[in-house]
Subunit: 286 residues, 2 copies
């Protein structure tokens, strides 16, 4: 039995909450601040047999985001209710959206905040071919702006990512690499970036921009990956490059293209992929 | 008679569209990209006796935003339908939200875009006391990040403004001044900034960050105001300072406070306010 938590509006769009009436499922009103200003956060969580993977890392990032934005963190019951219930597939993706809720005068938040928590579950299959054969990636023209107040958290202001993803339509390009205004590699449009140099694994620091992924956090916590700056000019010289996240897993980059489509670098597939060996067990991938 | 324009979903929440059925009024679905990513634009328009004020400037800014984001610009009928209909008050505020609509895979937009246009009308009264007595303003700690792809347009990624507005709760402070990461004054949280120096009127350029207001645009078009940089260190030395927008009109700043609440500068009220004399006729204010 799921009850509506005090002070939270909660809506779910799968059958996960059964017959519990949580208002107009799956809809937000005009005055929701998530819609009006992107005033909120989201999480995209892999569910395996109905159980969230890397859940504590997702909770931690959501909590950090709530702290930065000043949005009350949902109670345990409310968060758990988003994924509890019978799975519809072995693998699903759970998307959570948490907004500051409705109201306030313009940008000023209302006296009393009632955050709105929405969720949706969708069956999912990873692209195994990309694990095995690697991916082609291009550099994006757009440079991420610096904003330390928003860096790292998964907030709803994602126009930079949307605009970067609009830079190409070629389906053979799996991802776009984003650098910041200082010319340092930050992330891919929807994945984090990792590289190998002299046998060690690295990922860029995300204290000025970018989204700190949960798989990245787990790998850093394990001591498997170290944060280091990667200027664009040094990108072609790394021994191996990957893009990865907690839903898709780890894709080795085999070819890197410039913003004008010319080939900058090729990497052979690693015989035994060191990042996959570390990361895929965390996600339950073979 | 208002008809639903081809290729656009349109929803209005006042009585303005009468009995025309435009779907579930005033609600957007979970997968709307405005909610998911702030992937859209908005406008806040003063209506006088039901007619939009500075409408061509609002249309022009919306068109610029659509061009930057790659969102189809709504047809004339769709836009006009948002304000046509009997007014409920002499003055109203019309808020438009235009999103890229639903769909796509993650940040990638769908093959076919169906933008969603939402609108709401609310009765409004300007704060005449602030025109007459001026306002107290504080500097914000948050610095606006540079992002030329998004600068000037009124997009839905407004977390910087929300966070800046959260920096104070003292109701006697009317606005917060925002500088950029280079230490130049850019705007107030929901208004543009103007100043007078040696008899001439200026406003900051907004090519790296900030929202280019329609009143500001009209004043620049008139040749009444010139764009110029204003480093924070020179702020206290200007002859007069104002914050203004196309809904509230022009507020002279009488006192400026630092981020820690100490008083930085006081300005006497201008005997005959030169910016109000130029701007208020454009808005129909006495």
């Amino acid at each position: 039995m799921v009850s509506r938590p005090v002070g939270f509006e909660q809506q779910a769009s799968s059958g996960a909450l059964g017959s519990v009436d949580l208002g107009p499922a799956d809809l937000v009103p005009f005055d929701d601040r998530g819609l009006a200003y992107g005033d909120g956060l989201f999480e995209t969580v892999l569910l395996r047999a109905g159980a969230p993977v890397l859940w504590e890392h997702h909770r931690a990032r959501l909590a950090l985001g709530c702290d930065r934005l000043g949005i009350p963190f949902p109670c345990q019951d409310a968060l758990d209710a988003t994924w509890q219930g019978d799975p519809t597939a072995e693998l699903e993706v759970l998307k959570l959206i948490l907004t500051r809720g409705s109201g306030g005068r313009g940008y000023a938040e209302p006296e009393s905040i009632t955050p709105r928590l929405l969720s949706r579950r969708t069956p999912f299959q990873p692209v195994v071919k990309r694990w095995q054969e690697g991916v082609r990636v291009r550099l994006c023209n757009l440079r991420l702006g610096h904003q330390p107040y928003l860096a790292g958290i998964k907030h709803l202001n994602r126009l930079e990512n949307v605009l970067a993803r609009r830079e190409w339509r070629d389906a053979s390009i799996a991802e776009g690499l984003l650098a910041d205004s200082a010319g340092r590699v930050v992330e891919a449009t929807s994945m984090n970036v990792f590289w190998q140099q002299a046998g060690a694994l690295f990922t860029p620091p995300l204290d000025q921009c970018g989204v700190a992924g949960t798989l990245r956090a787990a790998l850093i916590d394990q001591g498997a990956v170290t944060q280091a700056a990667l200027p664009l000019g040094e990108l072609s010289a790394v021994d191996q490059l990957w893009v990865a996240n907690s839903v898709q897993g780890v894709w080795p980059v085999t070819t890197l293209f410039s913003t004008n489509g010319s080939r900058l670098q090729r990497w052979p597939l690693p015989a035994s992929d060191p990042l996959q060996c570390l990361a895929h067990p965390l996600l339950g991938f073979a």
